[in-house]
């Protein structure tokens, strides 16, 4: 065997892989090849000695900025913006997260309201004037003025499963339960259902669901599956939807009771078929008791198959450790502490995840996170 031929087996030979007997024999006996083989191996070792090259500082941030820009374009909201006929829909089991000063977060189950995209994403303060601390989407038609005290929260549901059940039930609740003005009429034509919860003072949360509306008219029937089908529809494990700044202070007594519920919309995931609604989005409402000079709070909405799952996602994403208080699920009032992150960071992560930014609404002072492609 020639040296040239034998050299074809250097790699295999050096790694102890089988090589033809002839080659092995040649390598054993040819001094020139023995030298060459040593260098061959040494060259590989030299290469292996090259250390890792660290990314420049800020590299990951740059990547994420680019990704976020894409996500924004593809996010439910982003798509929504580009598809005016699509209605916003919410997914099942959502969790509202409010990050406020002091490193506390309040989570709670929340009803999700649908809003017709055609009504515009711009939020404005509800006409009737909402008391501060009560952020809401006007279109959402939530019972006005209802700050519910924590104790008025829905009957305690101790387990996620229960809560989930409740949610489903609420979601499927029929229209007969519909009551109150605030219903969907205000929501406009979206074919999507809305299940606002009421937070009326007197209203016990558990039932608050009213559901939705009717199908409406318009333009995108296809895009608006009947709500009845929604509860059973698979829901993305999680989705973030809305972030808004609530003017109210955060305090234990501050959170409003929430009605469970949700018409959940299936979360189509990025890239869902056109005409299909993608994500949940729902404006959140908040009730706060009042206080002076409240630091800003941010509200996010997460959806999941179960509340537990949604909570986990929240913790996971925000870096905020969450500790459930006993019976917390009842009001889904969770006390969380910020571990390695600041409020700002948590907000940043949460918003980044949604691929959305928040912008201030001049007239209402709320911060709305809707910002999509023009």
């Amino acid at each position: 065997m020639t040296c040239e031929k034998a050299q074809e087996y250097f790699l295999a030979h050096s790694r102890g892989e089988p090589v033809p007997a002839e080659a092995a024999e040649h390598l054993r006996t040819c001094p020139a090849c023995a030298d060459a083989l040593r260098e061959f191996v040494a060259a590989g070792e030299l290469l292996g000695s090259l250390g890792p090259v660290p990314a420049r500082e800020g590299f990951a941030d740059g990547v994420m900025a680019a990704v976020r820009a894409e996500a924004r374009d593809r996010s439910p909201l982003g798509r929504l913006m580009s598809h005016p006929s699509l209605g916003l829909l919410a997914a099942a089991a959502s969790v509202l997260v409010i990050v406020g000063a002091g490193g506390l977060m309040w989570l709670r189950a929340n009803a999700v309201l649908h809003r017709d995209a055609t009504s515009g994403l711009a939020m404005s303060a509800p006409a009737g004037g909402v008391t501060p601390g009560e952020g809401m989407y006007p279109e959402a038609a939530v019972a006005p003025g209802s700050l519910t005290a924590q104790d008025e929260a829905p009957a305690a549901v101790e387990e996620t499963a229960s809560l989930e059940a409740t949610l489903s039930e609420a979601a499927t609740a029929d229209p007969t339960e519909q009551s109150g003005p605030p219903s969907t009429a205000a929501m406009g034509r979206s074919g999507r259902a809305a299940t606002p919860e009421s937070r009326g003072d007197a209203t016990p949360p558990s039932h608050v669901t009213r559901s939705a509306p009717p199908p409406a008219s318009d333009k995108s029937p296809a895009a608006a599956p009947p709500i009845a089908t929604e509860p059973s529809a698979p829901v993305g494990p999680f989705d973030t939807v809305v972030m808004e700044e609530a003017p109210g202070p955060l305090g234990p007594s501050a959170s409003g009771a929430q009605g469970p519920t949700m018409g959940g919309g299936g979360y189509g995931g990025f890239g869902g078929a056109e005409g299909q609604t993608m994500g949940p989005m729902a404006p959140a409402e908040e009730g706060y008791t009042e206080a002076a000079e409240p630091p800003p709070t941010y509200t996010f909405r997460f959806a999941g198959d179960t509340l537990d799952e949604a909570l986990e996602r929240v913790a996971d994403v925000s870096g905020v450790g969450i500790e459930l208080e006993a019976g917390a699920y009842a009001q889904v009032r969770i006390h969380a502490t910020l571990e390695d992150v600041t409020v700002d960071e948590a907000v940043e992560r949460l918003s980044g995840m949604a691929g959305l930014r928040y912008a201030e609404s001049a007239d209402s002072g709320y911060v709305i996170m809707a910002e999509g492609p023009e």
């Binding site: 061959f40 590299f59 990547v63 894409e70 494990p237 989705d239 992560r349």
Partner: protein, 216 residues
């Protein structure tokens, strides 16, 4: 946070697919060093390496839905990165373009990086030897270079390399063998120098020990 750190790539991918940007952020941070390293060795230029790596991560994000779980995220990412690097080289034009498209195994020089290993970020490349090795590497054809990077630097298995570069096993092995020979030739002066140094060292030790000289 703890959850995040413990999450496997697969889990982070799953979360990312659902639009969880924080999960993807974690993936980026977890793989950025290897991605940059690989791109830098491939392109010989830090700016280009960062550009290619970013392009790859963004492309990965965009294609998460297509990611098949039969390969690991890193292998999949490197495949994307590998393509991004080849694109970068093509864009850079010059001779690298030809050899890339032809899949020619011939040694072909690609434009030498302006200042490999130097500059503000050059500390990453410490040591004269490493610098020489890096220079030798970037003088190889892209096809040889990529295989050596994956095999000798990244320590990937033949199987993984096949997935990354999209070549059959036989081709990968034979090309790797040729690539290593090509590197050996590029490093001849250094290897020779090392041998001489070793000789001197041995001689020095011998002198000191008043002993005989050993040849290795």
């Amino acid at each position: 946070m703890a959850m995040r750190k413990e999450a496997s790539d697969a889990e982070l991918v799953r979360l990312s697919r659902n639009g969880d940007l924080a999960a993807f952020d974690a993936l980026v941070r977890r793989h950025e060093t290897r991605a940059i390293s690989l791109a830098y060795r491939m392109l010989g230029d830090l700016d280009a390496a960062h550009d290619a790596a970013q392009e790859a991560f963004v492309a990965a994000w965009r294609s998460l839905g297509k990611f098949q779980e039969q390969s690991t995220f890193s292998t999949w990412l490197y495949r994307i990165l590998h393509n991004a690097c080849l694109d970068s080289l093509r864009r850079r034009g010059r001779r690298g373009e030809v050899s890339l498209d032809e899949g020619n195994d011939e040694e072909r020089a690609i434009p030498e990086p302006a200042d490999p290993g130097l500059g503000p970020d050059g500390e990453a490349e410490r040591g004269e030897t490493r610098d020489l090795v890096h220079r030798a590497l970037v003088r190889l054809s892209p096809h040889h270079r990529e295989l050596l990077i994956l095999f000798d630097i990244e320590g990937m298995s033949y199987e993984e390399i096949c997935k990354v570069v999209g070549l059959p096993m036989g081709t990968v092995k034979s090309r790797l063998n040729r690539a290593r020979h090509a590197l050996r030739h590029q490093l001849a002066p250094l290897l020779e120098q090392q041998r001489v140094n070793r000789g001197h060292r041995d001689a020095g030790e011998s002198d000191a020990g008043r002993g005989t000289r050993h040849d290795m």
